[in-house]
Amino acid sequence: MQELGSFLEVLISGLLAGVLYSLVALGFVLIFKASGVFNFAQGAMVLLAGLALVRALDFLTRLGFPGWLAIMLGFVFAALVMALCAFLVQRYVLGPLINQNALTMFMATIGATFVIEGVAQFVFGSEVYPLRLFPTDAWIAAEATFPGGILINKLDVWGGVIAGLLVIALALFFQYTKTGRALRAVADDHAAAQSVGIPIDWIWFVVWLVAGLVALVAAAIWGTKLGVQFSITFLALKALPVLIIGGFTSVPGAIIGGLIVGAGEKVAEVYLGPFIGGGIEYWFAYVLALAVLMVRPQGLYGEKIIERI
């Protein structure tokens, strides 16, 4: 029972950490679906959102605003920053590159990553800023079944709940609003969507904005966990294997992929790590993704890739 208990503990903490990877991966999927752009800048956007949020909060609390108002205003400010970022990226980076091939767009987003990182740290500072929005203590569950119980971090549960709500909201948005339908049309075919009168500039702005807001949510949770700091951008790199496993075009895929990566790397670290030297968390997700690529290049839920000359 002891082993099963500790295994469950590792598994649950892995799954809940995976939810947070999913949040970042979700931003990638949204942009990829609507524009075919593989957005390397998602991690930088999480950093920007986090820094904007935490600095605004600090500033407002120092001015003496009550907690809840400061938090609300902070979120509004960070959302505005993300909107500005979406506008600038769309206007000056992707707009001019419309109808270019995917690799060019990808490299452009690498460029955008560096600009966003540079500007974010230049404007908001580059230290580690602690963020306290959610409780970070732990629950002990199922004490009756397992000796010692199972330790579950409350923050991780919050993350899971928020991610679930976000996915439902996004699904509704894509399915039932006019803009959502336009987004899906653009994803299917740029030129066809343009020819039925869908303003592609506006759609791209909206999708980058939504991705920015998802980044903001991710930043709020990750920031509470680790503090807002530069290393948060490496999250984006962790989200890449999640995407590969789940498929580039699938929202549920991003969630499932995140869970697989999160649980897989925690379990591997605990049960495989001692044999081959610790720290395999660092690359486990990538090697898993590589294996998936060899067997099923489009990922678990991705659309089949068909190529024509």
Partner: protein, 362 residues
């Protein structure tokens, strides 16, 4: 007037225009003879070692690495985010060969062989991680190469065999004896790097304008069409991975031995990979000259950013410098991709065309 070609061979020479040829000879003469002499007699700006060690040596070695990346990304169109890992493989394997591998009774090899074997090891792993490229492409491949980057970062950090069980995890280059000649001063290091760069740049240039280079470019422009025309993707893609990783590996070994001396895995992390990719994009995809221009740009900007505010008396912190540097690099990437996708090399070419017509462009 005018330069006319009367045979195919003449049309196919590396520098078809006489001015270019003369220019390259002058440059080589300067780099090989004049510059070491100026160093020897302390002519400014070569009075101190700073210029040589902080600018010229990194420039040469990173240009070499950029040539390697350019073969894969620029010529064969397979994007790679794992170049740093292949530099690391080159460096660590060259170190192992240079200090001898006692497990198989291999004595320490001469340094040139060690460096070349380091390159070969990188080529081997390049092919291994290139294998997925036969099934996946584009963005997916980028993630596969990223896997190589993180995996090897970890390997060199954790597997003690590579560092000869050094407790600190950092290793030092073996004695740099090239054919019995001990290389120690900056000028000597510079000469060694220069010779390597010249040789490999020539080889690379000849590869890309030959049969195999044209196969790479066909694969880059449209792989399915190339396959229908009878180009074997297996051979073309894997050879690009092999040649590219070999050159990157040699550059990695040179970087570790000549530039760093003592190094740890962090010297070859993901930032190095991105930096190399930037050099290639800014300098010019699919151009050997571009690799040099890109390397020069990436190296000069940080120096410029540190020196200029100091000269003007504007106080600026190192943090600010690195942020500004990020903004400039990122901005340049976007700018180049939008305005001139073939980079500085293309601008240089356009400039030459304009000069040919000058002053009457009609």
């Amino acid at each position: 007037m005018g330069q006319f070609k009367t045979s195919y061979a003449k049309d196919m020479v590396i520098f078809p225009i006489r001015q270019d040829r003369i220019g390259v000879y002058l440059l080589l003469g300067f780099a090989l003879v004049l510059l070491p002499l100026m160093m020897a007699f302390h002519v400014p700006p070569f009075r101190t070692d700073y210029f040589l060690l902080a600018i010229l040596l990194p420039f040469l070695i990173l240009s070499l690495a950029a040539i390697g990346v350019n073969i894969l990304v620029g010529y064969c169109g397979q994007i790679s985010l794992g170049s740093g890992a292949f530099m690391a493989i080159g460096a660590y394997m060259a170190y192992k060969f240079g200090t001898g591998i006692s497990e198989i009774g291999l004595p320490p090899l001469p340094i040139v062989f060690a460096i070349l074997l380091g390159g070969l090891s990188a080529a081997f792993f390049g092919v291994l991680f290139g294998l997925p490229s036969l099934r996946i492409k584009g963005l997916y491949l980028a993630v596969a190469t990223l896997a190589a980057q993180f995996f090897f970062d970890w390997v060199f950090l954790r597997v003690k065999w590579f560092t000869n069980y050094a407790p600190s995890g950092s290793v030092s280059a073996p004695e740099l004896k090239f054919f019995g000649y001990l290389v120690a001063t900056p000028v000597e290091k510079y000469m060694v790097a220069l010779i390597f760069v010249i040789v490999f740049a020539l080889i690379a240039k000849n590869l890309v304008r030959g049969n195999i280079g044209r196969q790479w470019m066909a694969i880059r422009d449209m792989d399915i069409a190339a396959e229908l025309m009878g180009i074997r993707p297996l051979v073309a893609k894997l050879s690009a991975f092999a040649v590219s990783s070999f050159i990157i590996g040699v550059a990695g070994a040179l970087w570790a031995f000549l530039r760093l001396g003592t190094w740890e895995p962090l010297a070859f992390d993901i930032n190095r990979s991105l930096e190399l990719l930037f050099m290639v994009i800014i300098g010019g995809l699919g151009s050997i000259l571009g690799s040099f221009l890109g390397a020069a740009f990436i190296l000069i900007v940080p120096i410029f950013l540190t020196v200029l505010p100091a000269e003007l008396g504007i106080p600026i912190t190192t943090g600010t410098v690195s942020h500004l540097q990020n903004v400039i690099f990122g901005g340049m990437i976007c700018c180049i991709l939008i305005k001139e996708p073939l980079g500085f090399a293309r601008l240089w070419q356009i400039g030459k065309e304009k000069l040919r017509m000058w002053p009457f462009p009609y």
